[in-house]
């Protein structure tokens, strides 16, 4: 009887998730293959790849995902390494590092829009006063994607830092002492002790951030609009222009789901679980 009551209490949450997450996902995939008369069609996919350059959007999404993950990872690792030391002002630095977590993505995007503005931008203001040069941050697709990568890394490095920091804290001190006695310098200690022991934590943070990176939407929409398109901004653009005919947008959505599944699979295999 007790078990039954418990299940009865869990049921509303499970029904809610099925109705609002799993059903729409299935609906999205189903509708992307359905023509207006109810038959099976690949029309939306053909259209998506021939007219709307979905391939370009996919490539851009992959560039942003890999670029942002790499940048967040390098900065996150450096920050975590600094924070494992004891020094005056450590707590203050930790508080500062965590600030971006409390800033809404939209606010971060708006701020970076003003930083990378070609006329009236703060990045150029610094470059101009230091080196007397100024850069057009949107001169080509790659540069535009770079602004997205930098902005996104600022917003999301803290979570990676926290995961890596907790991983570093869990490595026993004795390992480092033993290695130091055997004559290993700080660089070798980092590569032979810190990195291998962080493997699991690196896997967790890669999955967590990688999936979010594929879904990155508000930031590119505000910073660069639809040019160059990412998968998400392309989907939104199609949704907006064809609503309430959503077949094209849903074909894009299905491609996005497929990419996320492949990505999670690769990471799961690589991190050895």
């Amino acid at each position: 009887m007790k078990l039954n009551t418990s299940f009865f209490l869990i049921l509303p949450a499970v029904i809610y998730v099925l109705a609002f997450a799993f059903y729409p996902t299935a609906e999205a995939i189903y509708l992307s293959f359905k023509d207006p008369h109810g038959g099976f069609t690949l029309f939306y996919y053909k259209e998506l790849f021939s007219t709307f350059d979905a391939t370009g959007a996919i490539i851009n999404t992959v560039i942003v995902t890999i670029g942002a993950l790499a940048l967040q990872f390098i900065i996150g690792l450096i920050v975590a390494l600094i924070l494992t030391r004891e020094f005056f002002g450590r707590r203050t630095l930790l508080t500062i590092v965590l600030i971006p977590m409390g800033i809404a993505t939209v606010v971060a995007a708006v701020t970076f829009k003003f930083i990378f503005e070609t006329s009236g931008g703060y990045a150029n203001s610094i470059l101009h006063s230091l080196f007397g040069i100024s850069v057009n941050w949107y001169q080509n697709s790659l540069m535009s994607l770079l602004t997205v990568i930098i902005s996104d890394s600022w917003k999301n490095t803290p979570i990676i830092t926290l995961i890596l920091l907790s991983g570093m804290m869990s490595i026993p001190e004795e390992l480092y002492h033993a290695a130091a006695i055997d004559g290993a310098g700080p660089v070798r200690r980092f590569f032979y002790i810190t990195l291998p022991n962080l493997r699991k934590f690196i896997g967790i943070s890669l999955i967590l951030r990688g999936v979010q990176e594929f879904n990155i939407f508000a930031l590119p929409l505000i910073l660069i609009g639809y040019h160059p398109p990412l998968l998400t901004t392309l989907i939104y653009n199609l949704y907006q222009t064809t609503f309430p005919e959503v077949g094209l947008a849903l074909a894009g959505a299905t491609v996005l789901i497929a990419f996320i599944l492949v990505f999670v699979g690769i990471i799961l295999i690589l991190s050895g679980r």
């Binding site: 509303p12 949450a13 609002f20 729409p24 600094i82 030391r85 409390g102 708006v110 508000a218 998400t232």
Partner: protein, 269 residues
């Protein structure tokens, strides 16, 4: 000694990197526009501090309408989340782990699904149901983001309450309803408050569902986006700043509740 200096240089560089965008936001909000958006190379110092930008932007209904929409939506998301997560968390803490964990994983997996994928079919369905462009509809969709974490917190909270307490109340003749409201919920109050506040904050910051399901008279994040893309820059900046204040206040309040045990409690049993 040399390595200590390197450490401090590193720490300072990191500090500047994380603070700089916030500093830019403050400059944009409080400097006179002629030193910021109207200049080719905007000043990196606060040259002519003014409150004028904020005062102009916050007057009239341009700010108050989306502000109220955001307030309503976030509060409703908090309430719906609590209504679903408290019973679910309690139920999950009282069944064997091998059944409870797959259900928790199922909930957490939903967080991996892109809002833009789920949001489009929901928008189509909401038009049919009359929920498009309504606070209730948006709140129902945003609860997807908050429910997994809230359920996780509530499961941990209830697991940390000794079941002896509940048995005693039962022996004293209290039925499930009375046990819940006079024993369990008061003890779980910190976890419930934390879940509510986190949900409120997630909804306050949420953009994807808001722009898909409520594109016309929307919440603050969408309004900021529309203002900035249409060249209404000063309003966008002022809204961004005001919009951030509740999050900072709440984050501070949350530190009191998030000491870790509510999140870890469920993992220990």
């Amino acid at each position: 000694m040399k390595r200590n200096i390197l450490l401090y240089i590193g720490a300072i560089v990191v500090g500047i990197y994380f603070l700089f965008p916030l500093y830019v936001l403050v400059l944009l909000a409080f400097n006179s526009p002629k030193y910021t958006i109207l200049k080719l190379y905007p000043s990196l110092l606060l040259q002519a501090p003014t409150l004028n930008n904020l005062i102009v932007a916050l007057q009239g209904t341009a700010f108050i309408d989306p502000f109220i929409k955001s307030l309503e939506t976030a509060t409703l998301v908090g309430l719906i989340t609590i209504a679903l997560a408290v019973p679910a968390g309690y139920g999950l803490s009282r069944i064997p782990g091998r059944i409870a964990y797959p259900i928790l994983v199922l909930l957490l997996v939903t967080n991996m699904m892109p809002g833009i994928v789920i949001g489009i079919p929901i928008a189509v369905d909401f038009i049919k149901l009359g929920l498009y462009e309504t606070v209730i509809g948006l709140a129902l969709a945003q609860t997807l983001i908050t429910l997994p974490l809230a359920t996780f917190i509530m499961q941990g909270t209830f697991s940390a309450i000794p079941s002896d307490l509940e048995y005693q109340a039962r022996i004293d003749g209290a039925d499930l309803f009375h046990r819940l409201f006079s024993v369990l919920i008061p003890l779980a109050a910190p976890g419930i408050v934390a879940s509510f506040l986190i949900s409120w904050m997630f909804s306050w910051d949420e953009f994807t569902y808001a722009i898909l399901l409520m594109p016309y008279h929307s919440t603050l994040p969408v309004t900021i986006y529309i203002d900035v893309t249409r060249g209404n820059l000063l309003a966008g900046i002022a809204f961004s700043l005001v919009f951030t204040i509740p999050v900072i206040v709440l984050s501070y309040a949350l530190q009191k509740y998030l000491k870790g045990e509510y999140l870890a409690g469920g993992l220990k049993g």
